[in-house]
């Protein structure tokens, strides 16, 4: 990598880093693992640099990592108990942190493929065909995964609501 390439790479990470890390966090339950995955993918990107669509490359790689991460179960860290009160060092972001923690706890209910499907279809607003292409499966699988994921989330939300009501 030449110096000019390194500068362009740095600019790309500064520009898109937040969005990509957010994407990784949604796909992967453990925050540390999500950051690790992003770093790994960026490292892979450096050996292909310059790349026409670096953002697309990183996102595709992250999806692949997320949907295959349960294949080697012995290497997968157990997702840590997500704390509702994440260290809110910036008071301005308290609400955002709270929302993030709730999102984490909801998504933590789902197995890897259902989770990836849900993130791509609902949060990233991708079409069924695009999701199927990104995950390397059929649209039928996308549909069933999505419906199972939404079912689980629905039940979880209802349970948490009743739990709140009961106490």
């Amino acid at each position: 990598m030449r110096t000019s390439d390194e500068e362009r790479f740095t600019a790309f990470v500064r520009e898109d880093g937040d969005g990509l890390l957010r994407f990784a966090r949604r796909l992967i339950p453990d925050p540390g693992e999500a950051e690790d995955a992003l770093q790994t993918v960026l490292l892979r990107l450096t050996s292909h640099w310059p790349k026409d669509n670096p953002r697309g490359y990183v996102r595709t790689s992250l999806v692949n990592i997320a949907k295959d991460r349960t294949r080697r179960r012995h290497l997968v860290a157990e997702p840590a108990e997500t704390h509702r009160l994440a260290p809110a060092d910036e008071l301005d972001h308290a609400e955002a942190m709270d929302a993030q923690a709730r999102l984490d706890s909801i998504l933590a209910q789902l197995p890897a493929r259902q989770r990836v499907t849900l993130v791509l279809r609902v949060l990233e607003d991708m079409s069924e065909a695009d999701t199927a292409a990104a995950m390397g499966c059929s649209t039928g699988t996308v549909k069933s995964n999505l419906s199972r994921a939404l079912d689980k989330v629905r039940v979880f939300l209802a349970e948490s609501l009743t739990a709140v009501k009961d106490t």
Binding site: V13, L43, A99
Partner: protein
């Protein structure tokens, strides 16, 4: 009853979207991310280059070693038959050189083909290109000694000089005439004819008995022995250290 409490799928999706939008600012990439990645990439590049260099070195060294160490100018054959008695007994070893050219009197290791079947034989060169060899019968039908170019050969290493008579053969260019030392039983050029020099794969330099002791080949010219060219201390006496040292 429980079902009515459950929100609909669209509501769930909408709720998730809202949640994710409001969480958008919560996740920030660490400031030094690009630098960290670039440093790791650099380190990995250096590591790979080093590994490639070391790997190439190991491959080159081992192939040099494989070519250099695996090659020898000598090989040993165990005598399977009594065709060379008494020079070589059955089960004794004969050390052959791959590089020497066969000369008159040499024991050789030859690959011969008879009726389409190839086999290896150990035999002695009795006549070379252009020589005339025969064992002429006397009046009583026996032959005292093999005659090469009109001169009887002494063959002092033979147990029994007497040989069954065989007619005169003039050896063609590029061929040799082989005779086994045990003239009574040996299957050699008398029956299979002359042998091309290219079919000779080794020239004997020493004979090893059952205990591994080497001895010279009787009746053959002397050749360099295995190990002669090894870089060891000279066989001569080492001169003593000088005694007239200054005090």
């Amino acid at each position: 009853m429980a079902n009515s409490v459950l929100p609909r799928e669209e509501d769930v999706a909408a709720a998730l979207r809202t949640l994710s939008d409001s969480a958008a600012t919560a996740v920030r990439a660490p400031t030094g991310l690009a630098l960290t990645v670039l440093r790791r990439a650099r380190r990995r590049r250096i590591l790979r280059r080093t590994a490639a260099g070391v790997g190439t070195g190991v491959v080159v060294l081992s192939s040099v070693a494989a070519f250099g160490l695996g090659r020898s100018d000598y090989f040993t054959i165990t005598q399977p038959s009594d065709a060379m008695k008494p020079t070589v007994q059955v089960k004794e070893g004969v050390v052959f050189s791959k590089v020497l050219d066969p000369g008159l009197g040499d024991l050789v290791y030859a690959r011969v083909t008879v009726d389409g079947t190839g086999f290896d034989m150990i035999s002695r060169v009795m006549a070379q290109s252009g020589d005339a060899i025969a064992c002429p019968a006397k009046a009583d039908g026996a032959c005292d000694a093999v005659v090469v170019n009109g001169e009887p050969v002494a063959d002092p290493y033979l147990e029994e000089l007497a040989t069954k008579p065989f007619p005169l053969t003039v050896v063609p260019d590029g061929d040799v005439f082989l005779l086994g030392d045990n003239r009574a039983v040996a299957n050699d050029s008398r029956s299979i004819g002359v042998v091309p020099v290219e079919d000779i794969n080794g020239v004997a330099v020493q004979i090893l008995d059952d205990e591994g002791h080497a001895r010279a080949v009787p009746g053959a010219p002397s050749h360099a022995q295995p190990g002669d060219s090894d870089s060891v201390d000279p066989a001569d006496r080492v001169p003593p250290a000088s005694t007239d040292q200054p005090n």
